[in-house]
Structures are given as structure tokens and as C-alpha cells.
Symmetry: C2
Subunit: 67 residues, 2 copies
């Protein structure tokens, strides 16, 4: 299954919980790992990268895919 990585601006556990919740609502997302200190979000998902990116964008957080 593809794994995608993103840098996401998150400043508290409320921020990271929100990103986690939003991603887990997306069908095809199997696993979400978030490192708040490193501003890192790692997603295992059977959907295209763009779909995952769009879901994170809709949380209102600044997000950058890591190549």
C-alpha cells in the first residue's frame, strides 16, 4: 500500500488530533502516524496522494507533501 508523507503546521495536540480525525474519516486510509514535534504526518492509504492531500488541506492547516 502506498505511503505518503507531509509536513503539516500543527501547534498543539488539538491540531494533530484534528488532522488525525479528518484523515481517518477518509475511505481508503489504513494508518495515520503523526509526530507533532516534527510537524510530520505519515499516511498509509489505498487512494491517490492528491486525495489525501486534499483532505489535509480541508483541515485548514498549511501542508506540504514530502517527495
Amino acid at each position: 500500500m502506498p505511503q505518503y508523507k507531509y509536513t503539516v503546521a500543527m501547534s498543539c495536540s488539538g491540531c494533530s488530533n484534528a488532522v488525525n480525525r479528518a484523515l481517518n474519516k477518509l475511505e481508503g486510509v489504513e494508518k495515520v502516524d503523526i509526530d507533532l514535534e516534527k510537524q510530520l504526518v505519515i499516511v498509509d492509504a489505498s487512494v491517490p496522494q492528491e486525495k489525501v492531500l486534499e483532505t489535509i488541506t480541508k483541515t485548514g492547516k498549511a501542508v506540504t507533501p514530502i517527495a
Copy 2:
């Protein structure tokens, strides 16, 4: 223009900025007022209440419309 009010769980300014950003991306939203301390989000918008609620839900924050 209709005005909608919501209680939204926000714990830092990163949280409230994210909600603000997400709402301002929604077409038809004219004004967003957020009170972080009161967990209050007030939206002036020319779109149905459900559309605004859906947009807030997609931020991953817990949200309750205020009647």
C-alpha cells in the same frame, strides 16, 4: 444574510486559524468571527447551514451548531 453559530473545540490559535482558513475557502462565506476562549465560531454566509457545518467538520474539530 444568514448568520450561523457553532461551538467548536479549539485549543490554540493554530486550531482557530485552521477553522478560519477552512471557512474562508468556502464560497459564499462573507465573514467569520472566532472566539477561541468561548469556543465560538460565528459565520455570515449565503450558503445553507449544512454546508458551513460540513466545512467545519472537515477540519477534524468537534463541532455543534448553536440553535
